[in-house]
Each structure stands twice: as C-alpha cells, then as structure tokens.
C-alpha cells in the first residue's frame, strides 16, 4: 500500500545550476538525492534538472572532482524547486601547487616529476652513478677529476646525501688523487630521488649547498635472481618476496686490473683498484600502514700507485690506500591516526681509511650515528605540519704513526625543526619553518629560518621563491686541527619559474647565495685556522625536457651560468675557486628503437675553462684551463625478456680534457715552478655488461636497475 501511495504522489522537479565560487559553471557534476537513485549530471552550461517522486525532506548532494561536496536539505512537498549549488575548491595535495625552487624531484610513483629515478641508470656518461646523472642537471658544475657533485659555487663536501631521511657521512667511495670517485649507493635501490640545489626544507641540516634525498624502495613483489657479468667484474643478487616482506642481497666484485692492463692509464698504478662490496635490504609491512626497513652495506677497497715528482718524474712515492666502509640504516614509518604520521630512523656509518705514503702511515677513523624522529600532520586541508628532532653524533680521528698527537673531534649536534605548509588555495602555498641546532664543541645554539612560496600562474606554469639560512661543520681535515672552528654558513635566495605541458618541461631559475664563516688559513698557514672566510655565488639556469616531439625519444638540455668568488683557505683575496666554471651545458638524448629492441643514448657536456693558480704569476688563481667537452654514448640491447646487454663509452672522441695544473713546491734553477697537467685517468672508459634475470615471471629484467 505504501509503495502504491508513493507512486501516486506528485513528482517534484528539481532544477538549478552548479558553479564554482567565481560563478563559472561546472559541467559533469554529479547531483543526487542522498540514499536514492534520483539525480542527474550537470550539462556544459552547469545547468541541471530532474524529477523525483521522493517526498518529505531529502538531502541534495552535488559532487565534482577537485571540489568539496555540497549539501542542502530540500523539502520535496513543493512541485518545483530551484537550487544554485556553489562548490568550493578542495585543496588537494596532488593537484595543488608544489614548491619547486631549487628542487629536482624524481620519483617512480609521482607522475608529475620532471626527472625519473630510471633516468639515472639510462643516462649516457653517468655510468649508472647517481652523481654522474645529476651532473646533467642545471645547478651543477662538472669537476671531472673529483666525480662528486659541485653545486652553485659550493665545494664538493657541501652536498650532503640522505637515505630515507638519514644522513650519510661518506657518500663516495675512495679514489686516488685527481681521479673521480663513484657514489657508494646504487641507483636501483631507490624509488625516488630529490635533488635540491638550494632553499631546501628545514628537515635537512648540516648541508651548506645542496641536499640529495634518496628514498629507498618498499618491499619487492616477486622473487628473482640477477647475475651481472661486467668487463670490470661480476655481481649476483637475489630477492626473496613474501606476502608482506622482502629481502634482497647483492654481492659485487670489481677488479679494474685486467682492464687497465689493456688500456693505457694516466695513473701509474702499482695495484689498480679492487673492491668487494655487499648490500642487503629487508622490508616488512607492519599492520595497515607501517613500513619497517633495514638496509646495510659494506665495501672494502684497496689500491696503490706511484706518485711521480713534478720536477723529476723518476722520483716516485708509493701511495697505498685501504678503505673499509660500513653503513647501516633502519627506519620505521607508520600513520598514527587520520591526521598524523610518524617517521623514525637510525643510521650508522663507519669509514676507516688506511693510507701508507712511503714510510708514513695515516689511519683515519670516522664514525657517525644519526637518530631522528619526524611527525607529519595534516591539520586541515590547508595546513600541513612537519616537525622533528634528531641527534648527529660524530667521532673522528686521524692517527699518524710518526707522531703521538692524534688530531680529531667528537661532535654531537642535537637539532629540532618545525615547518608548516599553508595553502591559501590550490594555487598558492607558503612554507615557513626553522631549525634549531646545538653544537657541543662550541657550546652554541643556532637558529636557521627557512621560507618558500609557490604560486600557480596558470594551468601549467608556476613561480616559486625560496630563502633560507644553512650551516655545516667544517671539513674533517680542518675541524680535527681546531675543534673551536664554527660552522660555515650560507644564505640562499632562489627564484624559479616552471612550465610543464604534456610531457614537455621548461624551467628557469635565478639565485643569489652568500657565504660567511668559511674556514681560512691565518697568514696562509694551514695549521692556524679561523672562520674569517666569505664569498658569494649567483647565476641563472635553464632546463628544457621534451619526450613528446620525437617519437620514442626523450631528451633534455641544461645550461647553468655561474659567477662566484670566495676568500677562503689559502686564497690571499676573493677569487673564483678552481672547481667553479662559468658555463655548464649538457644535452642528454635517449632513443628507443623497437625494431632493434635497443635503446641508444648520448650525452654531450661542455664546461668552460676553470681557474687554476700558477705560482709563476703574481695574480692568484689567474690561469684558465681550456674548456671541458665530452660526448658519451650507451647502448642497451634486450634480445630476450630476461637478458640485457649493455655497452657504454665515455668521451667517444677521445678529447684530452685538462682539469687544472699541479705545481712543484720549489722553484727550479731558473726561478720557475714546474707544472703538470691534471688529466683524465684515460681518454675513454669502455664498459660492457651482460645482465641475466631468473624469475618465475620471465618478463622481469634488470632494466629498471641498470
């Protein structure tokens, strides 16, 4: 009876319009009466109408993606009703503006990033080294004899690496003097990379110029075994996956000796580098949202070489280097409730360096423990808070067997930070925060403010600005002599414009940076140090990436202009340091040819001449090297789903790049200082590797990890 009565009742016509707060119509919105089937979709003009047989009071709901739900009670006893639904914009982390000043984020998960984790492995000339690949991005300067990242007029040690938020004390492997070192961490371990060339979050301390933040992968989904046969060694890796956990281990052996036997080297090796390296990672999901990770690696490397005297090349010194490295990182991440989540971690680094130079033996010991807790909270859709505390504990000493004095230090830095992202709308965000640090050696407390803003100028373009104060303890080699040295400081000002349109990205960034409290030699004496050094860096950088115009091809172009001077260490006055180059330009090109199942890659880099100090001249650092140029290529061939053949060659054209000059410490008979050029260890580095993957699913291969 009830049903019949319902059917006989008069129908109500509900009509109206859906608009945003500016009165613009919203087409495609879903309009419904709660708990009934009745409703409709708004038209192109935002208008809608529908009939309902429902009676009494019902709730009308209007929904559209990107807007907050609209609700209104309607009394359906009337035969006609008109509704104007005004939808308010919802602040959505995925849609909202992001702060891009100084930052190059790369992630497999987020699809809006402009640099992908996979790019690191497939960039020609990078030889699967993280620093090598990032060196093709703007803001970096090529310093070929170091292999490290140099950012915006900063020294190589001013770039700090963080894994899952935890500081890595020594991110590069050992290398002979004036030969490039490689990063200790393989790119395939990470699902995301965020490379910041300035203005970064208050979460990252003890980094003067740049923060390289690496996010390790979560648990693996399938078990597999990988073999790699390389022209310079071999490796084997196994991954075991369970329902909520996975374990992966890798052992690698690198021996460059046979390769160096074939190809003439600039360095006079007694024993070319041999290293054995192992790493292991365990991941466990805990409950609904918890993730527990442990990662560890060890590396032992050994080499020795003859250092030839500049004045008389027949006079040689034997240098023998033994290096041991251990790294352990444990982290736990979980959500505490709907609003708050927790990240915590503990990392341990131990580096032992044993250097024998003729009769003198130096044993260097560097141990660090870093512990950290961070809370992330979404207080509302407009306010995000990040706050945390950490302690960085470092123990360093270097013992020389000819002396009983052991220079070193024990530094403890407790720190806390807080930072808030305030969204005015999806278009405008302000990030304000600061960092407080205490230093036990100086018994000093410091506060470093950071602020950044980002504003979306249109659908695809945005402007960001960042400012911050940054500090970092002096290098071990200075701090060990003088424990009272203050932290070196810098201020960054960055302005950035970025446009991302359908797989094309354009970016331009300008910056100004000042340095203060840099370590300086008093009257040129390297044993009497003070903090009176200073400097500046400024520049403009351009980046363009396009993987749309040419089918199956992806390329990017970077250009950086740098103007910098610093008065520090041994410089008599402010000069452009020898690692700085005014112009850096690179083009990276990757082309996949499906017919040949092959990806071809090429990278061209150009770096303008770098200063060097010629003691035969009056003016300090007045020499200029010729420009550095390099064309590198790589080829990956996939004949079978589980097999990859990889070939790469750096400096294909064999250009004799000179990075600088070393001078004799004494004048010769004619009152002249003799010199020797610092060259590449060899004109080219040729690498060939075969990678085989065994798994149940035969389509898995090592491409993502190459």
């Amino acid at each position: 009876m009830l049903l019949v009565a319902g059917a006989l009742a008069a129908q109500t016509k509900i009509s109206g319009m859906v608009t945003d707060t500016k009165g613009e119509p919203i087409p495609g919105a879903n309009i419904l009466l709660l708990n009934t089937y009745d409703g409709t979709t708004s038209g192109a003009d935002g208008k809608f109408d529908f009939l309902t047989s429902e009676e009494v009071i019902q709730v009308l709901v209007v929904k559209f993606i990107g807007y907050k739900e609209y609700r209104q009670s309607l009394d359906l006893t009337a035969s006609k009703l008109t509704v104007h639904a005004v939808l308010k914009e919802e602040i959505n982390q995925l849609e909202a503006v992001t702060i891009t000043a100084g930052a190059f984020a790369a992630s497999d998960e987020s699809r809006r990033t402009i640099f992908r984790a996979l790019d690191i492995a497939t960039t020609a000339g990078a030889t699967a080294d993280i620093a090598g690949a990032l060196n093709t991005l703007p803001g970096t300067q090529k310093v070929g004899e170091s292999g490290r990242l140099f950012v915006r007029g900063g020294d190589g040690n001013e770039v700090r690496t963080f894994i899952d938020g935890m500081l890595v004390l020594d991110a590069y492997g050992p290398a002979a003097p004036n030969t490039p070192s490689r990063g200790r961490f393989l790119p395939f371990m990470f699902k995301g990379t965020s490379f910041s060339t300035g203005g970064y979050s208050a979460e990252y301390g003890q980094a003067l110029s740049s923060a390289l933040v690496l996010d390790s992968k979560d648990e693996e989904q399938s078990s597999r075994t990988d073999f790699g046969l390389l022209s310079v060694g071999a490796d084997v890796a196994h991954t075991q996956a369970w329902k909520n956990a996975s374990w992966a281990g890798k052992i690698g052996y690198t021996n460059i000796r046979p390769y160096f036997g074939l190809i003439n080297q600039e360095v006079d090796w007694e024993k070319a580098p041999v290293s054995i390296e192992g790493s292991s990672a365990y991941r466990q999901r805990v409950g609904k949202s918890g993730m527990f990770k442990v990662y560890g690696n060890f590396n032992h490397s050994n080499f020795s070489l003859h250092h030839h005297d500049i004045d008389d090349p027949d006079v040689t010194t034997l240098i023998d280097i033994n290096n041991n490295f251990r790294y352990l990182n444990g982290s736990y991440k979980t959500s505490l409730n709907e609003k708050w989540s927790l990240r915590s971690g503990l990392s341990y680094t131990l580096t032992q360096n044993d250097v024998q130079q003729d009769d003198v033996r130096v044993k260097e010991y560097d141990e660090g423990i870093h512990s950290k807790v961070v809370f992330d909270g979404s207080l509302s859709d407009k306010v995000e808070i990040r706050t945390g505390a950490e302690v960085i504990n470092r123990d360093y000493h270097a013992a020389v067997d000819t002396s009983s004095f052991v220079p070193g230090f024990h530094e403890v830095i407790p720190a806390a930070f807080v930072e808030a992202d305030l969204y005015a709308s999806n278009k405008f965000v302000t990030r304000v925060g600061g960092r407080v640090e205490y230093n036990n050696l100086l018994n000093q407390l410091s506060v470093d403010p950071r602020i950044s803003l980002a504003y979306k100028t249109g659908k695809t373009g945005q402007v960001s600005f960042a400012y911050g104060k940054f500090r970092q303890s002096p290098k071990n080699e200075w701090l060990r002599w003088d424990n009272q040295l203050a932290a070196e400081k810098s201020d960054h000002y960055i302005l950035n414009y970025q446009l991302i349109e359908n797989r094309r990205t354009f970016r331009v960034e300008g910056y100004y940076k000042t340095y203060s409290h840099l370590v300086k030699f008093e009257n040129g004496n390297p044993f009497v140090l003070n903090n009176e050094g200073s400097g500046y860096a400024r520049g403009v950088e351009l980046f363009y990436r396009d993987n749309k115009t040419i089918r199956n091809a992806d390329y990017w172009i970077s250009y950086s202009f740098l103007d910098t001077e610093r008065d520090y260490l041994n410089t008599p006055y402010a000069v452009t340091p020898s690692f700085a180059s005014a112009h850096n330009f690179s083009v990276v090109y990757k082309h996949f040819v499906a017919k040949l199942k092959t990806q071809f890659g090429a990278t061209y880099s150009f770096t303008s001449g770098r200063p060097y100090n010629n003691p035969n001249e009056d003016k300090f650092n007045n020499g200029r090297t010729k420009s550095y140029q390099d064309l590198s290529v790589n080829i990956s061939y996939l004949p079978k789903p589980h097999l990859i053949v990889y070939f790469s060659c750096t400096n294909l054209l064999g250009r004799d790049n000179i990075f600088g000059f070393e001078y004799s410490t004494t004048q010769n008979n004619e009152g002249f200082y003799n010199s020797r050029a610092i060259r590449q260890p060899a004109p080219r580095f040729v690498f060939l590797g075969v990678f085989i993957t065994l798994s149940k699913d035969k389509s898995i291969n090592q491409l993502p990890s190459l």
Binding site: N30, N35, G39, A44, D554
Partner: protein
C-alpha cells in the same frame, strides 16, 4: 491460538519479501539501463553521465559491488578517449578509486581484479617508453591473479593474451603462448555463464579482433 499468530506473521514476511524483491528489481533495472549506456557511450560526456549514475546507485545501495565496478569501467573508457596524458592519468586514478570501493565489498571477485589489471595496462599507453617496464609487469601479475581467482573469466584471459602477445612480439619470440591464452579466452566467452544478471559482458569483440593475428 497458533494459527492466528502465524497468519499475520506470514503476511508480514511475504510483504517484506515482496518489498525486497521490488527494490532488487529496481536495482537491477537501473543498473542494466546504465550498463547499456556505458557500453554504447561514444563521448567522454556520455560516459561521465553513466559514471555519475553508477556512483549515485552505489552510494544509495552501499553493499553492491557492481555500481562501483561499472563506474571504474566508465573511467577507463574515458581514459581511452582522452588525448592529454595528465587527464588520462587522472581518469585512471578515479577508476582505481571506484574499484577500491568495489573491492572492499567483494574482495574475491575476479572481474574486479581484471579491471585493476586493465588500469595498469592503460597506464602503459600514456607513456610506453618510460612506463612499459613497470606497468606491463604489474598488469600481467594482476591478470594472473584474476585468472587464479576464476579460471573461467574470459576477460582476464583475453587481456592476459594481449599482454603476452605484445611481449612476445617485442622480443621477436613465439606468440604460441599468447595465442593459446587467446583461444582459451574465446572459448570461455562462449561458455561464460553467471547467475548474476549484472555480470560484465564486455571484451569479446576485442578478443575476436585479435584472432586474426593468431592465424
């Protein structure tokens, strides 16, 4: 005494059953109408209308997986018609979101898992060069799961066949395995029977189109 009590009770039960079946009829009727719409829609706007209707039904019913499943299907179809990469991804995100609701209601349904694989497969088409590796593996794993849940599901088999065919062709390997899966899929499309009047029926023309490649 007892008879007197039973009669109103029986009447009540009958009335309730009638009410329930009337409601159920209305559910099936509304669903079928919109399924027709989503299967035949040509434009993104038409698909949006169908998807909205499914979401309305889903919100009202709360414990039925089909509305969210078809909303998810509608979003995948919208992605196939969209040209802009970013929007394509946005539709696929919405598709997964709707699918999650369906999954929460009926986690063991092979059709839902198949749709999940379909979304991964579509992700590849947005940017094959950089996504192929990651998402095609994921799609195949998911189709494998769907087949394990119901070996009779022709859609899971036919999409799996497509992935296998693509992989084999890429590596110049034999397509025998892919064609074997396809034949099984075609067979299951003929025999597929479900008690559920709202069971999906899509995918057959796509499988038949592939038959020519397997000759």
């Amino acid at each position: 005494m007892k008879t007197i009590n039973i009669i109103p009770l029986a009447l009540l039960v009958l009335a309730l059953l009638a009410f329930k079946s009337a409601a159920n009829d209305r559910y099936i009727e509304s669903m079928q109408k919109n399924m027709q719409l989503v299967y035949t829609a040509k434009t993104i706007d038409e698909l949006q209308m169908a998807v909205n209707a499914f979401e309305r039904i889903g919100e009202a019913e709360k414990n039925k997986w089909e509305p969210f499943y078809y909303a998810s299907f509608g979003y995948v179809m919208m992605a196939t018609r969209e040209k802009e990469a970013q929007k394509k991804d946005a539709y696929l995100d919405l598709s997964l979101k709707a699918l999650e609701k369906a999954k929460a209601i009926n986690p063991g349904e092979s059709e839902i898992t198949t749709m999940e694989g379909f979304v991964h497969m579509m992700r590849v088409t947005v940017d094959p060069a950089t996504r192929g590796q990651q998402y095609s593996g994921l799609a195949m794993q998911t189709f494998g799961k769907a087949i394990a849940m119901n070996p009779e599901n022709p859609r899971a088999l036919s999409l799996m066949a497509q992935m296998q065919y693509g992989t084999a062709q890429f590596f110049g390997a034999s397509t025998a395995e892919a064609c074997g899966t396809l034949n099984k899929a075609l067979e299951k499309f003929e025999t597929f029977k479900s008690d559920n009047p709202l069971a999906p029926t899509w995918g057959k023309p796509m499988a038949e189109g592939m038959r020519a490649q397997c000759k």
